[in-house]
């Protein structure tokens, strides 16, 4: 089939403003938007820049805005989209070139929540065990591939790029609710700042955008509740009445 695809192009060496360019390519309806981008790059304009690696929804490198919504180009089928297909970079990150955005700030925020096991205990000789129920507690947030679709669909992030963003909170959630981890207080302090979870307005764009189907809004909500509980818990055990 003939497919019309419009791509927001930006070359920092030539353009002041991004410009929409239209291409017509021949593809199967069951091909993906990534195949359309390949067709453009390989047969029409080799200067088109975009990221992709696995091409199978695993690496998270091809997050972009497709027909007004954040999606992975390698997961969206052409037959499911209205034509012309409009492709633009994720919003809120500086554009490096065409569909490539600068994600350095995104990964700084990711690192800021200490996304690794924090434990004072000496490493055991085998695995650190936990029960299936303890493992299930954070199952949903283990699925994140750090594509950035959630953070760049969030109006709070567009308004204030200091906001740590849904992706970093998802990553923090994965460790905060892990029974083997002891870094809860540290991470809570980071997420309790003005740039932390309280910027979330429960808008659900992140959940709608997540290509891994993570209930991001719920994860953020659980962190918020944890912070409220920690703040309202009396610092000392309440005095016993006699």
């Amino acid at each position: 089939m003939q497919l019309d695809i419009q791509i927001k192009r930006f070359n920092p060496e030539q353009d002041r403003e991004p410009q929409w360019r239209e291409y017509t390519v021949t593809l199967e309806p069951t091909d993906r938007v990534l195949d359309a981008l390949h067709a453009v790059k390989w047969h029409h304009d080799g200067s088109l820049a975009f990221r992709r690696s696995c091409a199978h929804g695993i690496c998270g490198s091809d997050g972009m805005m497709i027909n007004g919504r954040n999606r992975l180009a390698c997961k969206v089928l052409i037959k499911d989209l209205r034509q012309p297909i409009m492709v633009e970079p994720m919003r809120g990150f500086p554009v490096v070139k065409d569909l490539i955005v600068d994600m350095a700030g995104f990964f700084d925020k990711y690192r800021s929540v200490r996304p690794y096991l924090i434990s004072d205990e000496a490493p055991p000789r085998t695995e650190r065990l936990q029960s299936p129920a303890e493992r299930e507690r954070y199952e949903d947030t283990t699925k994140c591939i750090l594509c950035g679709a959630c953070t760049t669909s969030c109006p709070s992030f567009w308004a204030n790029s200091a906001y740590v963003g849904p992706a970093a909170i998802v990553q923090a959630h994965r460790f905060i609710f892990d029974s083997r981890d002891q870094g809860r207080a540290e991470r809570s302090a980071i997420l309790n700042q003005a740039s932390g979870v309280w910027r979330c307005r429960t808008i659900f764009n992140c959940t709608d955008a997540c290509p891994r189907g993570i209930n991001v809004t719920k994860a953020i909500g659980e962190v918020k509740k944890l912070l409220v509980k920690a703040a309202t818990r009396p610092p000392h055990p309440p005095p016993t009445r006699d």
Binding site: G68, R69, F204, T207, D208, K224
Partner: protein, 118 residues
């Protein structure tokens, strides 16, 4: 291009707009009531303007804004308190809009009837 978010996105946008709208009305209201300090004739003049039919229609918009803002706020609070409700947030929004319609229909009728049956 505008972000094509879901129900959550549009309800958030409306929440903002109605919030700002109600705030503007409050400012206006403080201004008009303080006109009494300049003398009753000024105050009565502005009250006369408010009695114009156009303002009646705007008042219905004001009630609708306050009601939407309040109901939507309650929905967000419920979801924030019981996070499992995130799974049915679309259904919650539909219930919210059903309540909104149920309340607004009689209210709009009562408020606009004097204009219609004149």
């Amino acid at each position: 291009m505008w972000y094509r978010g879901g129900i959550g996105h549009w309800s958030w946008l409306l929440h903002r707009l109605t919030g700002v709208g109600v705030l503007l009305f409050l400012c206006l209201h403080i201004l008009d009531t303080s006109l009494i300090a300049l003398g009753p004739q000024h105050y009565n003049a502005i009250m006369g303007v408010y009695r114009l039919p156009l303002f009646r229609v705007l008042e219905v918009g004001l009630v609708a804004s306050v009601l939407f803002h309040a109901l939507n706020g309650v929905r967000i609070i419920l979801i924030d308190v019981w996070v499992d409700l995130t799974r049915i947030h679309r259904l919650l929004f539909q219930i919210q809009m059903a309540c909104f319609t149920l309340v607004m229909m009689p209210v709009a009728w009562i408020m606009l009837r004097p204009l219609l049956v004149q």
